[in-house]
Structures are given as C-alpha cells and as structure tokens.
C-alpha cells in the first residue's frame, strides 16, 4: 500500500514536471496550431464552397484536417522527449527513481496527453467559431469526451514510440514525409470514409487499417452524428485495441532504450 502511494506521488511529480515544460513552450506550439486552424477554417468555410463543395462537407473537412494540428502538437512533444532522451539522458535518471518503470512511462504518456488536449481543444473551438455553422453540430458529449481521450492516448503512445525509436536526424528529416504524411493523407482526414467507399470499396478497406481513420471518423461521428461516418462505437473499440497494442510496443521500445545491455544479455 505504501509503495503504491509512493508511486502515485512520483507519478504526480513527473506529470507536474511535464506541465512545467509545457508552460515553457506552449506559446509557439499553440500559435502555430492556431494559425493553421484559422486558415483551414477560412478555406473550408469561404473558399471551397465557391468551387462547388456542399455546405454539409465544411465541418467534416475541418474536423478531419484539424487532426494535423494534433499531429503537429504531438510531434513537438516528441521532439522535446527525444532531445531529453539523447542530450541530458533524462530517462536514465528517471530509471533510477524508486518507482516501477511503468510509472515513468505512464507519466510521459499522461504529460503528452494533457498537452495535446489542453492545446488542441481551444484551437478546435476557435476554428468552429470561424466556421460558425453550429446548426450542423449534433454533439454527443459523452462520445466526444471518450474519443478525445482515446485519440490523445493514441497520439501520445505513437509519438513516444517515435521519440524512443528514432534518432534526432531521422525525426527532423524523414518522419514527416515517410510516416506522418501518409498517416494523415490516407487517414480520411481530407475526405469522409463513406465517400471513398462509394467510389473505391477496395481502397476504403485499405484505409481501415490506418488507426488515424478511426480518430478522424470518430471525432466526426461524435460531433455531427448520423450515418455518414463510421460508427462511434466501432471507432472507440478499434482505438482502444490499437492503444493496448501500442502500449506493449512502447514498453519494449523504452526498456530497450534504457537498459540495452540487460536486454542483450537476456536474449543470449
């Protein structure tokens, strides 16, 4: 009982440290995300309808592309963690703390989740204010809350795996074009999944293997309701399963990063 209490105390302190780091860098991250969101909202609301896009598509397009803001926030956190790991070797110091290693990783996941939620929600709200089409929104608050948490956990786990696994030059150079851009482009961010299914059922099936599809479609489903998007329950189930899988991957990757010698010995 004592050790659980102690672990929770350390977890709280580590999350506090993450929030302290966030206070140092939130302005630039928030500013970038806000500028993107405002411009995207303007394009969706004022420009694309003049090209022939129907009004019903404005909010789904905005909500989908809003995921880029979440990706860029997650990427900024990922770079911070990666620098922490390489330069001051912070993770090695953490691993000497008298708490289970899972507690340390949990604090990092929680820290990134909080950052994504705290920075992304105002950006989303600001974009929706510019679009100003509240009559189309049929928000299911419980589903939206669940989706936000699941999507934030997915982002946090995914970016932590990248931070532990990739070197800084790879993170700065190849991660966007080779991992994040395909994830975004073929994650239904710029188009609803049902429209792809109507034109190309095979390609629509391929898109279902991308977890980003469930983040985006779940968010649309929770905000807009109806049958035009993937069902919210399915999105939540898949994201939950993906998050469990990513947690296991993160565990192995982080242990490997901190204790490479021990792992090599045990594998011999």
């Amino acid at each position: 009982m004592e050790s659980i209490h102690e672990s929770l105390r350390v977890l709280g302190l580590l999350v506090q440290r993450e929030l302290y780091v966030m206070r140092q860098s939130w302005r630039s991250i928030m500013f970038s995300a806000l500028v993107f969101s405002v411009l995207l909202a303007c394009a969706s609301r004022y420009f694309l309808p003049l090209m022939g896009m129907s009004e019903e598509c404005i909010i789904p397009l905005f909500l989908g592309s809003f995921i880029v803001s979440c990706l860029s926030i997650g990427y900024a956190c990922c770079l911070e963690v990666a620098y922490d790991l390489r330069s001051p070797q912070l993770i090695r110091y953490y691993s000497t703390l008298p708490v289970p290693f899972g507690c340390i990783i949990g604090a990092q996941v929680l820290g990134i989740m909080i950052r994504i939620i705290v920075l992304a929600i105002p950006v989303l709200f600001c974009g929706l204010c510019i679009i100003n089409m509240w009559m189309f929104l049929h928000i299911s608050w419980f589903a939206l809350l669940g989706m936000i948490v699941l999507a934030a956990v997915f982002n946090a786990l995914f970016f932590l795996i990248l931070a532990y696994q990739c070197s800084i030059p790879v993170l700065l150079g190849n991660v966007w074009p080779r991992f994040l851009s395909p994830l975004f482009a073929f994650g239904c961010a710029l188009y609803p999944w049902r429209t792809v299914e109507a034109h190309s059922p095979f390609f629509a099936q391929v898109l279902l293997y991308n977890p980003m599809t469930y983040c985006v479609e779940g968010l649309r489903s929770a905000c807009l309701g109806g049958s035009a998007f993937l069902p919210i329950t399915r999105c939540m189930q898949v994201l939950f399963a993906v998050n469990c899988m990513l947690s296991v991957v993160l565990w192995f990757v982080s242990v490997n990063a901190v204790r490479p010698v021990r792992l090599k010995r045990s594998s011999l």
Binding site: F31, S32, L39, L48, L50, P177, A185, L190, Y191
Partner: protein, 262 residues
Amino acid sequence: MTGYRHVWVLLARQWFLVRNNVVDNIINYMVIWPALFSGTSGYLVPRAFFPQNAVMKGTELIVGMVFLQFFVVSYFAVVELLSERDESRVLQYHVQATSYTATFISRLLFYTMYTYILVLPFLPMCKLFLGSYFFTDNAQWLMMPFVLFLVSLTVVSYVFCVFCTISTIRELEYAWAWGIEPVLWLSGMWAPSYVIAQSSLPGMNYFIRCNPFAYATESVRQLFFSDVQFASLPICCGVMCISAALCSLASYLLMKRQIQAV
C-alpha cells in the same frame, strides 16, 4: 574574376554538405509526396467534395500543391543557413574568407537550384500516378521548367527574407506560422486565386491582386489550363521577377545587418 571563383567554391561546398541526403530527398520529394498528393488532392478529395467536376477540380487542387512543395523544400533547405549563422558561425567565416556578396549569391543560387531540382518532377510524377484523372490536354510542358524556376526563385528569396527577420533559431516555429503558412493558404495553394477573390471575406479581392505569390500559383495553373480565369503568363512572370528581385535585395540588406551586428 575572383568573385566568380568564390561563388563556385562556395557552391561546391554547399553540394558537399547536402550530397549525403540526396537519396533521402529524392525518395521523399520525388516519389512519396507526389504519390500522396496524387492520391489525396488529385483523386480522393475531388471525388468526395466535387463529384460533378472531379477531374478539373482535382487538377486545380494538385497543381496548387506544387506551391506547398516549394515552400516545404526551401524551408528545410534554408534552415541550414540559420544554424550556420547562429550556431557554427560558418557564415561569418565565409564572409571574412571571401566576400559578403559572394557568400549571399552562392547561398541563394544553391538553395534555388536545390529546391527547383527537387520540385521539378512533382507534376510529371503526379501525371504518372493519376493518368487521365490529371487533366493535361492544354498543358504547356515545355514552358513548365522556366515557370517553375521563377517560382522557385521567388519562393526561396522570400524564405530567405523571412529567415533574415528572425534573430534566433528558436523562433523558427513562429517564422513558419506567421511568415509562410498564411502566404500558402491565401495565395492559392488549395483554392485558386479567382475563388479567394470572390469570397465574402473583406478585402480579399484587393489582397489577391497585390499578393505576388498569387501570381506564382496562377502561373502554374495557367500552364495547365490556358484559361482566362487565371492571370496570363507574361504578367505572372513579370510579377515573379520583380518580387524575387525585391525579396533578394531585402534579404541581402537584412542579412548583412545581422552579420555585422554579430
């Protein structure tokens, strides 16, 4: 004569620095990105949002995307300049060893050519991926290298100018957010200029007319559509030449001041 030699030597040095990344960049910008943009902006997005006129709208979207490519490639190329100025201070060393003008011209020329070469195959690759979904019946392929070079020069000189206004490498994030992102969206990267001008946002009509980057996107769209709704090529090329010259001059003076301040 010595000045030319200095420029050549500095150009060779720049090539020496980037040559290890060439394969990575070719894969990223000549294969992966054209495939991604062809799949999304060229095929899926127009089918989802403009089902009546998907091929034409898809072509309008994908042609504008070349502008994003120019900015992304030049941004990541020119970032090196900031670290050379603020961290390793190689730039100051080059200015002392050669001359400021030779250093500046070699950098501008190199980044322009580098960006140009990496972006030049974007549209042909998109055509390869999209086939008949990419409308090229009226395309002027022979004019394309010339127009894209001018776009490259305009974009790189502007990115130079933006980077010269920031004092430390920590302000990079802001530079993209205030200096590049608005230019991308409000110059026709997605929606063409005639659409932005018609929008109900106040002042957009005048803004588009005065925005030199709108002429850059117009020129590329004109290459593919040869339509009166886009500005004519001679006007676009003239505006791009003038804006490239002005941005180059501004960045020349700004950078000189920053280096002297150091």
